[in-house]
Subunit: 208 residues, 2 copies
DNA sequence: GCCCTTCTACCACTAAAATGCTATTGTTTT
DNA sequence: AAAACAATAGCATTTTAGTGGTAGAAGGGC
């Protein structure tokens, strides 16, 4: 028996889903809310397997609700529900911790299928959104900056936010040498400071 | 016309695919190889739109080939091909830069569909593999550090490696104010420098 | 009205980082 | 043996970052 939690502002759609869930063997609707706030103030989310959440909710968005669930009950599987396939929003939701999504235009049978899929360890989503996820996920091609082993080692320590003197102590070399290595690193990477070097070497887009 | 490159060691399967591609309007097979090495030594990969690559190749693996393509011709779309759905390998391939994958057991029509899908910006993959990708992609739960909007904005700029004065210029405020914001940020995050703040706020493990 | 937070700003001081130059030791390549 | 590179290290200088104190203007909440 899969317990589903509904958070959807449109009463018609919410009630329809509830009816379908409660009348399909193997499914049940443990609770339903018309907004995120009332759901957060309740604690039914601890008794559900899957949460079906509308992305566009009045007030606190569905994406924020996912973040909330992720903290309060990480085991809860979040399935997003959107009217139309809004790439960016769906993407943000997945990034926040959602496990898949369905379109409101999908047939009830497809929605039930998606719920089962999520429970079975899948992540139902369209191929287009999958691409966005994949791309954010790709490791940027190693552009081979030919740093020496020692330089990479230094960079590892730099990435932790350590001071030169702390790195020097850990590696049992002088602060001057650490300094020198850094300078050489920045030179090779064509950057001017620690943060740029880390972004470049570890291939990070600065930040979302 | 979609130009496809084949890298597949099983001659039967490779020839069959080639035949299908060359005899389907809108598709053509620009080259085919039985291993990664010979493909890397040629330069046909510059003339293809999509590369269909077997994951299990003798010698250099399909995953390594993807990394190679990513560096040499980042525009080439890599579609992996596997005999059975080996989660870890497929996952690694996607991480290395592949855009989707198909199963050898899929019908020819489905394979052609997947190729079109990739060209159209999609990422064909199973729901199970999508889940693995999604999970690797999830941001760790934000521990809510209650930074103000302005402080988060400053942090965004810090993450690019900008100097205080550069941030000040972009936000049209004084350097002193940027300085002050940073101090407040470090205070709230209980850290002592930029790198630590970035690691903590953006929830990153220092580095692999 | 008053309190509290946020954003703004200046000053002063210390610590650290970034940029130069030079130089020794060892290892590897040619 | 010479040349090239890697790692080490010292010194000097300038710039930037980090830590304090203080304080005014704008906005929300009580």
């Amino acid at each position: 028996m899969i317990s589903v939690l509904l958070v959807e502002d449109k009463a018609d759609y919410r009630n329809a889903l509830k009816l379908i869930l409660d009348n399909t063997p193997g499914f049940c609707c443990v609770a339903d809310y018309c907004d995120a706030e009332s759901c957060m103030n309740d604690n039914t989310y601890n008794n559900a397997d899957v949460a079906l959440i509308d992305i566009q909710l009045p007030g606190i968005s569905g994406i924020q609700l996912v973040s909330f669930f992720k903290e309060k009950n990480p085991a809860l599987l979040c399935l997003m529900c959107t009217a139309y396939e809004d790439g960016d929003n769906v993407f943000s939701a997945l990034q926040a911790g959602a496990h898949g999504y369905i379109l409101k235009s999908d047939a009830p049978s497809k929605i039930l299928e998606a719920i089962v899929e999520v429970v079975n360890g899948g992540s139902p989503m369209s191929s287009q959104v999958a691409r966005k996820v994949i791309e954010a996920f790709h490791r940027p091609a190693q552009v081979e900056y030919s740093l020496t082993n020692r330089e990479e080692e230094i960079l590892q320590h730099l990435s932790k936010g350590l001071l030169y003197k702390e790195i020097a102590f850990r590696l049992s070399i002088s602060t001057e040498t650490v300094r020198r290595h850094c300078f050489n690193i920045y030179d090779k990477l064509h950057v001017n400071n620690r943060t740029e070097a880390l972004n470049k070497f570890f291939g990070k887009k600065p930040h979302r």
